[in-house]
Symmetry: C2
Subunit: 191 residues, 2 copies
C-alpha cells in the first residue's frame, strides 16, 4: 500500500536488531486518518470473505482493527493480556511470548463473543515472530471457529510470522511488507 510505505519511509526509524519504530503514527501516537485508510484497504481485501467478527490483541491492534470493523460493518473483539489467569471458565485463552519484552502473557477472549457460526478476521499492527497472531489462531482452532484471514499493517517478511500464518493455511494480507533492512533503510517486498 503506497501511502503506508511512504509514511514508513518518512516517519519510521530503523533501530539495531531489525526493529522498526513507528510510534509516531501507529502504536503510541496514532494517525486516525491513516488508520481509516488502512481499515478501508483491509475491507477491500476481505469484503467477500463472509467476515462476521474481527479479532485483535490489545493495545496496538485496536486502532486498525476498529477501522477495519467500521468498513466491514462487523464487531471487533480485542483479546486482553494478563500476567497469568486463574479463573478461565468463561474465557478462551492462549499463551503469547513477547520477544521484545521477553515475557509470556496469557491472552483471553470472553466465550460469549465468538461462536462456531462466526467467521473471524484477525488484525494486528505488526507481524514479526507471529506470536500474538499464533495466540489468536490457537484460540480459534481450539474453539473451532473459521478464520477468513489475517491482516497486518506491517510485516517483517524475513521473520518467522509470515511462514507461520502461511503454514496454518490462512490467507495473509500485509499492507506493507518489509523484505529487509539495509543500512538503516527499509526495503519493501515487491509483491
Amino acid at each position: 500500500m503506497k501511502i503506508l510505505e511512504e509514511r514508513i519511509r518518512r516517519d519510521g526509524t530503523v533501530l539495531p536488531g531489525d526493529v522498526l519504530k513507528v510510534d509516531n503514527f501507529l502504536n503510541h501516537q496514532i494517525d486516525p486518518q491513516l488508520m481509516d485508510e488502512l481499515g478501508a484497504e483491509f475491507a477491500r481485501y476481505f469484503e467477500d470473505a463472509g467476515v462476521t467478527k474481527i479479532l485483535t490483541v490489545e493495545s496496538s491492534g485496536i486502532a486498525p482493527a476498529v477501522m477495519a470493523g467500521l468498513h466491514l460493518k462487523v464487531p471487533v473483539i480485542f483479546a486482553r493480556k494478563h500476567k497469568s489467569l486463574t479463573l478461565t471458565d468463561n474465557l478462551y485463552t492462549a499463551k503469547v511470548y513477547s520477544y521484545t519484552k521477553r515475557v509470556t502473557n496469557d491472552i483471553s477472549i470472553d466465550r460469549r463473543f465468538i461462536s462456531t457460526t462466526d467467521k473471524v478476521l484477525i488484525i494486528d499492527d505488526f507481524l514479526a515472530n507471529g506470536q500474538a497472531v499464533q495466540g489468536l489462531l490457537d484460540i480459534t482452532n481450539a474453539a473451532q471457529i473459521p478464520v477468513a484471514g489475517v491482516g497486518v499493517v506491517i510485516e517483517k517478511r524475513f521473520q518467522k510470522g509470515h511462514e507461520l500464518v502461511k503454514a496454518a493455511g490462512v490467507p495473509l494480507v500485509a499492507l506493507a511488507s518489509i523484505a529487509a533492512f539495509e543500512d538503516g533503510q527499509v526495503v519493501f517486498s515487491e509483491n
Copy 2:
C-alpha cells in the same frame, strides 16, 4: 446522547457494587459504527476548541479516542500502562490507582508527542473515580500543556471523577451520564 443511552439500557448489565458492564459494545467487544457516532459527537462538542491532539489511556479508551481524532482530524496518543517505570528520561509519567484492580500503575507518554503549543482533549471510555483522567491531567499540568476538555463515553456522576474534573476547571462532556443505579436499572442524569 440518545442512541448511547438506549444501547446501555439494552446491552449493559448492572452488577453489584455499582458496576456497569458494557463489554459487549465498548471495552472488550467493540461496535465500530457506534464508536464512529460517539467520535462525531465528541467532535461536535469540541470542534471550536482548538484541539491539536487527543490523549487517552490504553486499552479501552483507544477506540472512542481514535474515532474522535478521525472527526477532529488530529492525532491520538495513548498513554501506556506499566507495572513500574525505571527509565523515564524521555517520558511524561503519572501514577494511576485502579479501584477495580486494586493496583497502582504508572502511565507514560513520550515527550516527543506533546508540547506547550498543543491543546489537548482527554478522552476515555469511563469516568468513575477519575483516576485515569487525573493521571493524564497530572501529566498535562506538569508539562504545562493546555487542556481543551475531557470527554468520556459514560460517567457515573455519583462517583468522585465528575467533581474531580470540575474542580480542575476543565470542561467535561459525558455522552451518557448515570445518576444512579436503582433495582439493577440505570437512571440517567437529565442534563
